[in-house]
């Protein structure tokens, strides 16, 4: 999907501060609501987007408000796409332990990456892992 096809988009750089996340997510959800994305799709997008942004804030940028998180997202009638980037060294998502493994279920880490994957149609990291692109296709309403 090219940006020129987006009917709504934002490009922001936000400080790596958890307080920045909720207002941004609310703005995006309002836009999705106005363009008649379903409740299920909004839930999925919120889940994946919040995980991506908070990972960038906490892990990528060490919750340092002097470091910025890049948020570049938009959607058209069919597809939502978001690219979130941070200033960190990146990581290899393949190195994240499976949070559903018996030995990991009680741990308080590792679920965010899995949840992102679960709630979008595609997820791509750049080579070093400090940028993630999420794509969610609009659900087809039952006829």
């Amino acid at each position: 999907m090219t940006r020129s096809s987006w009917i709504w988009s934002i490009v922001r750089k936000i400080p790596a501060d958890p307080d920045q996340c909720a207002p941004l997510i609310a703005e995006i959800l309002d836009a999705l609501e106005m363009h008649r994305w379903s409740a299920n799709d909004k839930f999925s997008i919120r889940m994946a987007l919040e995980e991506a942004i908070m990972n960038a804030i906490k892990h990528g940028n060490d919750s340092d408000p002097d470091k910025l998180v890049g948020v570049n997202l938009g959607f058209n009638d069919d597809t939502f796409e978001a690219t979130i980037s941070d200033r960190g060294c990146g990581f290899d998502p393949e190195d994240v332990p499976d949070p559903t493994a018996d030995e990991n279920i009680g741990k308080t880490c590792g679920r965010g990456v899995m949840l992102m994957k679960n709630f979008v149609d595609s997820i791509e990291y750049n080579e070093c892992g400090n940028e993630v692109k999420l794509t969610k296709n609009k659900s087809i309403s039952p006829g």
Binding site: P18, C21, A22, M47, E51, T108, C109, L115, N118
Partner: protein
Amino acid sequence: MEKLECLEIDNVAQVAVVKFTDPKVMDPSRIEQMGAELLALLDNEANEDVVVNFENVSFFSSAAINKLIVLEKHVRARGGEICLSNLRPEVRDLFSYTHLDELFQIRVDQQAAIESLAK
């Protein structure tokens, strides 16, 4: 009944029943406060068994899940049990995807949850 910033805590049939009351409780900036209040309920020794009622919860992030896991560990360490209730379908699905329905007891409603903890 005790009303905190994020939670409301009641005692029903010797079970501590927790409800989320702050509409913004799942905002990332509020999660730490929510987690602190969940743990603080264990300061009351009478709160051995805990039901967490999700009737006001339409969203639950991994950060919030982590706070619940910490609560579960503390409850279990004290010999108590924890049960979740009133989960909306999308939140219930979350516990399935993450296999956390293997860690937490989950019941349809508060009464069933309280009864499951009856000793």
